[in-house]
C-alpha cells in the first residue's frame, strides 16, 4: 500500500492510493462554545438536499448532544472501540508539537483505520476498518438531547457542585457535524467501483450517482458515518458541500463564492467556512491573513475532529471550554489545552477574527485589522485584560471588501417613528 503524509498526525501513514492534493481545500471551523442546538443547520440541509422519498433517515448535517448522543447512535464509541481492539493501549500521541504546519499536535503513535485494516481484516475488505450501522441506529438525529453526565460512578444524580469552572463535572455539549471532505477520505478508499472522487479545484468529496452500485463499503468505512445508503435508488449519498454555492455557480451567488446552506443558516454564529490553499506537500500553504489559516495554524484554537482516525478531516472545532480535558483530548487530540487557553485568553487579533463569524454569507478569503482605541482595562482570573475597539475587514476572492465590523457590538438607535414595532 502507498504511504502518504498526514500533517495532523505528524507522520506518514499507509493509504490505498497515492497522495494527490487539490489546489484549494474546502474547510470549516465550528466554535462549539456557541452552538445552541437550534438545528437550523440541520434543517437548512434537509430542506435543500434530502427531502425526497428514500432520504427520510438521512441527515447530512446533524447536531448531536455529547457524550451520550450520536447519529448514527454510538458512531464514535464504536469505531474508537474497534481501533482499541486492533491496537490495545496503543492509541496514544507522542513527540513534541512541531512549530510548523506538519505535526503541530506531535506525532500520533497509534493505528489509523487504514493501518488497522491491514492487521485485522481479511485481505478482500482490507482497505479500511469500519462497521455498518444497523437500521435503528439511524433513527434519531439527536438522541439523548440535553442529557448531562453526572459525577463518575454515581447514577441518576448530578454533581451538586458540577457547574463550577474551569471544568464542569456535570456537562454535555453540542457537536455539529457534516462530512469533513477529508484529505484522505475513507469512503473513497473503500469504494470498489471508484465512484467517489475528490475534486482537484476545491477538495470537495463527491459520490457519483451514475457509478455507485450500492455496495455500502463507503457507509461501512467512513469513520464519521457521513455516507448514507438510500434504499429506493439503491445508491449511497453524502454531503456535497453545497458545491454550486462554493463554486459561485448557484444563481443566488451572483458569481461570487458563497458559504454552504448549513453555514449560512447558523443562528448561533458558530460556523465559518472557506477554501484554504494547499501546498505541494499537502500541508496548508502559508496564508497568514486567511481566517481559517489563522485559527488553525496561528492561534491554534481550532482542532480536527478525531484526527487519530487518519482521514485528515477538514472540519475544525474550537473545543468547549467546560468539558473535562481527557474527553476532549480523545476527541480533538493533544492540541486541546493550548486551544482552550487561547480561546479563554484571546489575543487582540483572535478577538478580531472571532468577529468575522457569520457577518456575511460570502466566503472570506482574507482579513485586515485596523487598530482602534482602548475601551476597557481590567483583570480576569488573575490576568490583565485590555480591550481595543479594532475594526476587522473581510475581503472576498476577487479582492473586493465584503464587510467590516468592530470588536464592540455596533449600537443602532431606532428613530421613535414606530416605537413599539419590531
Amino acid at each position: 500500500m502507498p504511504t502518504v503524509r498526514n500533517w495532523q498526525l505528524g507522520r506518514e501513514m499507509s493509504y490505498p492510493y497515492d497522495a494527490r492534493f487539490p489546489s484549494r481545500q474546502f474547510a470549516f471551523v465550528f466554535n462549539i462554545n456557541r452552538c445552541i442546538a437550534c438545528q437550523s443547520c440541520t434543517m437548512a440541509c434537509k430542506s435543500t438536499w434530502t427531502f425526497n422519498k428514500g432520504q427520510e433517515h438521512m441527515w447530512w448535517a446533524n447536531v448531536e448532544t455529547k457524550p451520550y448522543g450520536g447519529y448514527p447512535q454510538w458512531w464514535d464509541a464504536r469505531i474508537l472501540a474497534r481501533l482499541e481492539e486492533a491496537n490495545p493501549a496503543g492509541q496514544v500521541w507522542g513527540g513534541a508539537p512541531a512549530d510548523a504546519r506538519f505535526g503541530p499536535y506531535g506525532v500520533f503513535e497509534g493505528t489509523t483505520i487504514f493501518e488497522a485494516a491491514a492487521t485485522t481484516l481479511t485481505p478482500d475488505s482490507a482497505r479500511v476498518l469500519g462497521y455498518l450501522p444497523a437500521d435503528d441506529e439511524w433513527n434519531a438525529p439527536n438522541i439523548y438531547e440535553d442529557n448531562p453526565v453526572g459525577k463518575r460512578g454515581v447514577r441518576n444524580q448530578l454533581d451538586p457542585t458540577g457547574e463550577q469552572l474551569p471544568e464542569h463535572k456535570t456537562w454535555f455539549f453540542y457537536l455539529a457535524r457534516i462530512c469533513n471532505h477529508c484529505s484522505y477520505p475513507a469512503c473513497l478508499a473503500a469504494c470498489p467501483r471508484k465512484a467517489i472522487y475528490k475534486r482537484p479545484e476545491d477538495g470537495i468529496v463527491l459520490l457519483d450517482q451514475a457509478e455507485c452500485r450500492g455496495y455500502r463499503k463507503c457507509v461501512e468505512a467512513c469513520p464519521y458515518k457521513k455516507s448514507m445508503y438510500r434504499g429506493n435508488t439503491r445508491t449511497s449519498e453524502k454531503c456535497i458541500a453545497c458545491f454550486p454555492r462554493v463554486e459561485g455557480t448557484d444563481p443566488e451567488t451572483g458569481g461570487e463564492p458563497m458559504e454552504t446552506r448549513c453555514m449560512a443558516a447558523c443562528i448561533g454564529q458558530i460556523r465559518m467556512q472557506g477554501l484554504v490553499q494547499i501546498a505541494a506537500d499537502g500541508t496548508w500553504a502559508e496564508d497568514r491573513q486567511n481566517p481559517l489559516y489563522y485559527l488553525v495554524h496561528v492561534a491554534k484554537v481550532a482542532l480536527p475532529l478525531y484526527p487519530q482516525f487518519g482521514t485528515q478531516p477538514n472540519g475544525y472545532y474550537i473545543p468547549p471550554r467546560w468539558v473535562p480535558r481527557p474527553y476532549l483530548r480523545q476527541m480533538f487530540g493533544p492540541g486541546v489545552d493550548q486551544a482552550i487557553d487561547s480561546y479563554v485568553n484571546p489575543s487582540r487579533e483572535l478577538l478580531a477574527v472571532l468577529q468575522l463569524f457569520r457577518r456575511s454569507n460570502r466566503i472570506i478569503d482574507r482579513y485586515e485589522i485596523q487598530e482602534g482605541p482602548k475601551v476597557y482595562e481590567g483583570s480576569l482570573r488573575g490576568r490583565k485584560v485590555e480591550l481595543f475597539n479594532d475594526t476587522v475587514i473581510a475581503f472576498g476572492r476577487s479582492g473586493r471588501e465584503i464587510f467590516r465590523t468592530t470588536i464592540e457590538e455596533p449600537i443602532h438607535v431606532r428613530t421613535n417613528a414606530h416605537a413599539n414595532s419590531i
Partner: protein
C-alpha cells in the same frame, strides 16, 4: 395457511447483510448479477428485477428457513390464521407479532385474521436468537387466538386520564411477557437468561408491591395460567387495594390508581406539600405523581439552599422553603 409473504425490503436487506459472509466467489457472482440491473433505467422494470434477484438469493441462502420452520411447528396458531406476512421493523421496539383483522385485510369469505410478523432483517442472520424470539412472539399470538384467554385489543381507559391508560398498558405488557416466558420454561423450552431479564422488568414496573415483589413475580412466572381478565386485574390495580376512582386531593386530577398513603413522606416533604396546600393533611393521601413531584422539589430546594449558604448562588429560593 397459505405461504408466508415476505416484504421485499426484508428480503433485500437480509441478502445484502448475508453477502458479507459469503465465500468471495459467491459474493462476486451476486454482485455481477446485481450490478447489471443498474443499467435498467425504466423504474418499474428495474424494481422487479431487483426484487427477483434478491428473492432468488434469499431462497438460495436459506434465510427464510428458521422462521418458516418455527411457524410451521405452531400448528394450532396456523389453523386459526388466514396467512402470514413478514414486514421490516426499523428497531427492536417495533419488532413483534400481531394479528390483523380479516376486515382490514379485505377478505369477504375467510374471516380468520392475518398473522403479521415485524422483524429486523439482521435478525434473520442469527438463527438461534430468532427461534427464541419467535417462540415468545407466537405465544402472544396463540393467547390472542385462544377463546379461553379472552383477549381484547383495547384496554379500558379513562377519557380524562390518558396517562393512566398508558400505565396500565405498560404493566399489562410486562405481566404478559413474564407469564409467556414462565410458561415456555415450564414446558421445558430453553429460554436462556430470560427469567432474570423479566424479573428486572417486573421489579421496575411493580415497585409499589414492595416486599411482596419476589413472591408475586415467582407466582406469575412459575404458576399462573393467565387470562386477559387476570392480567388486566393486576395491571389496573397492582396492590389489590380498594380502588378510589376520585381525584387526588392535592392536584385534583382524576387518578386511576388508589391514593398513596402519605405515610412514606419525610417530614420536610410533608411540610412542603402543606405549605402549598394549607388544608391538606397526611391522612388525605396524594397521588404518586404528586408525591414524586414534591420529593423532587424538596431535593431541588435543598440543593439551592446549600449553594446559597456556601455563597455560590446569589439568589435564594423564591419563597420560604421548609427544609431540614
Amino acid at each position: 395457511m397459505s405461504e408466508i409473504v415476505w416484504a421485499p425490503d426484508v428480503v433485500e436487506e437480509s441478502v445484502l447483510l448475508a453477502e458479507r459472509r459469503l465465500p468471495p466467489a459467491d459474493a462476486r457472482a451476486f454482485r455481477r448479477q446485481r450490478d447489471r440491473i443498474y443499467r435498467e433505467l425504466e423504474p418499474d422494470r428495474r424494481e422487479v428485477r431487483f426484487q427477483t434477484l434478491h428473492l432468488e438469493w434469499f431462497r438460495r441462502l436459506r434465510l427464510a428457513a428458521i422462521l418458516e420452520q418455527t411457524i410451521e411447528a405452531h400448528g394450532a396458531v396456523l389453523q386459526r390464521v388466514r396467512g402470514c406476512a413478514v414486514a421490516r421493523a426499523r428497531s427492536n421496539r417495533e419488532a413483534g407479532a400481531d394479528l390483523v383483522d380479516a376486515s382490514q385485510a379485505g377478505s369477504d369469505t375467510d374471516r380468520r385474521p392475518m398473522l403479521l410478523l415485524q422483524v429486523m432483517p439482521a435478525a434473520l442472520l442469527d438463527p438461534a436468537a430468532l427461534a427464541g424470539w419467535l417462540q415468545h412472539e407466537l405465544m402472544h399470538v396463540s393467547d390472542m387466538l385462544d377463546p379461553a384467554f379472552g383477549y381484547q385489543r383495547t384496554l379500558p381507559s379513562s377519557p380524562d386520564d390518558p396517562v393512566a391508560g398508558n400505565i396500565v398498558r405498560d404493566r399489562y405488557r410486562v405481566l404478559w411477557d413474564v407469564s409467556i416466558d414462565g410458561r415456555l420454561a415450564r414446558a421445558g423450552r430453553d429460554i436462556g437468561a430470560k427469567r432474570a431479564v423479566r424479573a428486572f422488568e417486573f421489579a421496575a414496573t411493580f415497585r409499589m408491591l414492595g416486599d411482596r415483589l419476589p413472591e408475586v413475580f415467582d407466582d406469575w412466572f412459575d404458576r399462573v395460567q393467565p387470562t386477559h381478565g387476570r392480567i388486566l386485574a393486576v395491571a389496573g390495580n397492582p396492590g389489590g387495594r380498594p380502588v378510589d376512582a376520585g381525584r387526588c386531593p392535592v392536584c385534583r386530577l382524576p387518578t386511576g390508581a388508589p391514593f398513596d398513603s402519605a405515610a412514606g413522606l419525610t417530614a420536610p416533604v410533608e411540610a412542603l406539600v402543606r405549605a402549598n396546600h394549607p388544608g391538606w393533611r397526611a391522612e388525605h393521601g396524594l397521588c404518586l405523581q404528586c408525591r414524586d413531584l414534591y420529593e423532587a422539589r424538596h431535593a431541588d430546594f435543598a440543593r439551592a439552599r446549600g449553594l446559597h449558604d456556601a455563597g455560590r448562588l446569589e439568589v435564594a429560593a423564591p419563597h420560604p422553603i421548609p427544609i431540614e
